[in-house]
């Protein structure tokens, strides 16, 4: 059985709301720590969505959904439940509204998450980068943004544990190629659990074209431009000599040699042991070589065999609100449990616990705190600072695409979506504009232009947009006559083999007005609030976007590619900067809605992600991040989750076995 029933128990040591990566890792660290110290612990995870992905059959159904989807968006494999809606993949600013978000700001918030057991790691890319040391001290270094209450050095040991928990493939020597990262930023004997994912043929061709002397100037400083392999939570070859840093594991449970964890239903054998090159990491890895939180969830289920350890996972359980007593201690979480995804029918349940951990995503966490308002806490729980829901951030994702010279063979559409990036991620330029991290796509013009389908369309029908397409064709790509047969076959190959795309993840600063709120007029069929979002992109980020495009032109020029970037193109939301028009899409990196800080009056949680207002409430995940930097945020969320779980365990007086 992959789906679990409502619990018979009514009281737990710790209740965790959300069966994604943050919640799963908090639960695992707690359970492992208890086992290590011979203590007993009872944990409950409440997941609003369904849990199909744990079984082979459920995984198969996700794949089938993906195959049959006309537009292969991030949530295409994962069915929507009317009782736990996920946001749509393409945001809407006007009626007819998105089925989930109501957007009331200047610009649409472009990012969504997945509401199912495993959370958004089901569809994530798997890039597992640490943040840059200066990302934690933006105010101090660049007089902008915010400082974290902890720094890179505090987080370093937890980054190591996070890399082992997710199973990250990377070489330390590669990471040291990132400008502004130094040897001192990694512990001397530290090794990632698996060797780096091999770079793609496309990376190799570009590396030759770039040469060794290419530099790019930003704000008067010159930065080397080079391809650096990306750390990825994707199985590769385990390192025999690497030593497991996870101190929460009992000696008997700490393997001498790292063992890649594959498909949850068959973790130690099969194709999930190694990335197979299915080339579909977003939105689904068929082999399960990519980490998803389902792996950790399965490990938690297996831990129930251990004496003293009880981990229950209840799916289809939508938390509606938390209750606090007069002293501010959280006493209960209320949730609705449904059987059928579509019928507006659910049973109300009430659970008490000693500690409560919210790990339901940045947007859901904020929503839940706001919806828990009562006479004593009229603006919601954990919200004396009025920061809950505020400082919402994303990495607005902008694309530049070009065509390599005639005859180039890049090997497009093979392997993981990106195996290298072009890191210029930190420097004095951040006083003036956003930093950006530049992914080099292995998937041609797939994202910006719908390759290879759109190439076929342009070739077989020279004016394909005449009747049924909303967008406008790229005039310089249209053929004068239709192609078919051998000519079509060979032209398609030679065109697609020349495609390259740069994807810029733009840094966004915490802005007071970018926020998630609730509105009693915007609820789902169970009467649960749906998010209302106000969002805009500041000048700081827009100026960074303009710089990113200036960089893309220099880059294309250097590698001999012709720029085909088309801001009127098919996807994205329009924004302007100094008279120029750009388009952005969401990166799926939802951050900042319950920021951590060193003062109770300007943050929601402290550096252990503990609420300032409620001593037994922890609010975890990317929402705790005070600034966004340019790293895909999951690894940081996991490092924070481990650190918080350690703290929760320390202060939880558990019975000895």
């Amino acid at each position: 059985m992959s789906e679990e029933s409502p619990t018979a128990k009514r009281h737990y040591d710790v209740v965790i709301v959300g069966g994604g990566v943050a919640g799963a890792v908090v639960a695992k660290v707690l359970a492992e720590s208890a086992y290590r110290d011979h203590k007993s612990i009872s944990l409950l995870i409440l997941e609003a969505g369904t849990g199909a992905g744990l079984s082979a059959a459920g995984h198969e159904s996700y794949l089938e959904n993906y195959f049959r989807a006309s537009i292969k968006t991030p949530n295409a494999p994962y069915p929507d439940s009317a009782n736990a809606r996920a946001p749509e993949d393409i945001p809407k600013l006007k009626p007819p509204w998105d089925r989930y978000y109501r957007q009331v700001g200047e610009l649409p918030f472009g990012s969504n998450n997945t509401r199912a057991l495993g959370g958004t790691t089901l569809h994530w890319m798997g890039i597992a980068l640490r943040m840059m040391p200066n990302d934690f001290a933006m105010k101090q270094k660049y007089s902008t943004g915010e400082d974290w209450p902890i720094g890179y050095t505090d987080l370093n040991p937890y980054y190591e544990m996070a890399e082992w928990e997710l199973g990250v493939s990377a070489d330390r020597s590669d990471q040291l190629l990132i400008p502004r990262l130094s040897k001192a930023d990694f512990r001397e004997n530290y090794e990632f659990p698996m060797a780096g994912i091999p770079r793609s043929h496309l990376d190799t061709v570009l590396e030759t074209a770039i040469g060794s002397d290419f530099e790019y100037e930003l704000a008067g400083s010159r930065y080397p431009v080079r391809l650096v392999p990306l750390p990825q939570a994707r199985n590769s070859m385990p390192r025999a000599e690497a030593i497991d840093p996870r101190n929460y594991l009992h000696e008997s449970r700490r393997p001498k040699v790292y063992r890649p964890y594959g498909a949850p239903e068959d973790p130690t054998t099969g194709p999930g042991q190694r990335c197979q090159g299915f080339a579909s990491c977003i939105p689904i890895c068929p082999s399960r070589a990519k980490y998803t939180a389902l792996k950790t969830i399965q490990q938690l289920r297996d831990m129930n065999r251990l004496s003293g350890i009880s981990v229950e996972i209840v799916t289809r359980a939508v938390a509606t609100d938390l209750q606090a007593d007069d002293s501010g201690r959280i006493t209960h979480v209320n949730y609705l449990r449904y059987e059928d995804e579509d019928l507006p029918c659910a049973m109300r349940h009430r659970i008490s616990a000693r500690r409560f951990v919210l790990a339901a995503s940045a947007i859901e966490n904020a929503k839940l705190l706001l919806a828990s308002r009562n006479d004593q806490f009229p603006s919601g729980l954990a919200n004396r600072s009025d920061c809950v829901g505020r400082y919402l951030m994303d990495h607005p994702f902008v694309l530049a695409w070009g065509r390599m010279p005639s005859g180039a063979v890049m090997g497009t559409f093979r392997g993981p979506g990106a195996t290298c990036d072009l890191p210029i991620r930190d420097g004095a330029f951040r006083e003036a504009h956003a930093a950006f991290r530049t992914d080099v796509s292995n998937w041609g013009w797939g994202l910006p232009d719908g390759a290879p389908g759109m190439d076929v369309e342009r070739m077989i029908e020279p004016d394909p947009f005449r009747q049924s397409y909303d967008g406008k064709p790229q005039a310089k790509l249209l053929q004068s006559t239709a192609l078919y047969g051998k000519e079509l076959r060979s032209q398609l190959r030679s065109d697609v083999q020349r495609q390259i795309t740069l994807g810029f993840l733009m840094e966004q600063l915490p802005e007071h007005g970018n926020r998630v709120t609730i509105d009693d007029g915007w609820k789902d069929q169970l009467g649960v609030h749906q998010p209302v979002i106000e969002y805009d992109i500041s000048k700081y980020t827009r100026a960074g976007i303009a710089e990113a495009y200036r960089f893309s032109k220099a880059f294309f020029n250097k590698v001999g590619a012709e720029d085909f970037t088309d801001h009127e193109g098919l996807i994205g939301q329009k924004i302007e900067y100094e008279g120029k028009k750009f388009k952005y899409i969401g990166a799926g990196h939802i951050m900042g809605t319950h920021r951590m800080g060193s003062r109770a009056d300007e943050s929601v949680v402290n550096d252990y992600q503990r609420s300032w207002d409620h001593e037994n409430l922890y609010v975890t995940g990317c929402g705790s991040m005070p600034t966004a930097g340019t790293s895909n945020p999951t690894l940081t969320a996991v490092a924070l989750a481990i650190r918080s779980a350690e703290q929760i365990f320390r202060n939880l007086d558990l019975a000895r076995l």
Binding site: K72, H201, R274, Q276, G277, G453, S468, Y484, L492
Partner: protein, 174 residues
């Protein structure tokens, strides 16, 4: 679309006995011509097409979407691939044959084209067209997606359907 089927079922399902019989009965109406035309339109050889295992499925899909009569008129028009691509009547069908082979997709034949067809063919010759509401923008089937020839043409495989193995992406494409 509200299918008005004279038969007892509304949407045929592969494997459904009555559906299989129906296809066998009409298999003579152009399967050979369909293969020849597919070779000319896609640039893949008959052996390559056969190796996908999709020949019969795509042919049946055309029968179900266009109806037997219109499909026969298309396949037995006597026009070569170049003329078909340029034909206002058959061009959209030829392009959809390429789409089904290359992308596993069907693109809705637009109203403008339906008007043209109504002028060119008698009601009898259009009998069965879109009987099952299949004339819409869609992925035909997961196997049609899996075997899309666009991916083979570029030296790759449809995402999530092929596993060339660890580090295969580090080598030049075949």
């Amino acid at each position: 679309m509200n299918p008005k089927s004279p038969r007892t079922y509304s949407r045929p399902v592969p494997g459904f006995a009555q559906y299989d019989l129906d296809v066998r009965a009409t298999a003579e109406t152009g399967l050979v011509e369909f293969i020849d035309l597919s070779v000319d339109l896609t640039g893949f050889t008959a052996a390559e097409l056969a190796a996908t295992g999709m020949v019969k499925a795509h042919f049946e899909e055309l029968q179900l979407t266009l109806g037997v009569s219109l499909l026969a008129a298309f396949l037995k028009s006597g026009l070569n691939a170049a003329a078909l691509m340029e034909s206002p009547v058959f061009g959209p069908l030829a392009r959809n044959v390429i789409r089904m082979w290359y992308l596993g997709q069907w693109k809705r034949l637009p109203d403008e084209w339906l008007g043209k067809i109504a002028q060119t063919f008698s009601e009898e010759a259009r009998k069965g067209f879109d009987e099952f509401g299949r004339n819409s923008d869609r992925v035909i089937s997961s196997s049609a997606y899996r075997h899309g020839l666009a991916w083979a043409a570029i030296g790759a495989h449809a995402p999530a359907t092929g596993s060339p193995g660890f580090a295969s992406w580090a080598r030049p494409p075949t």
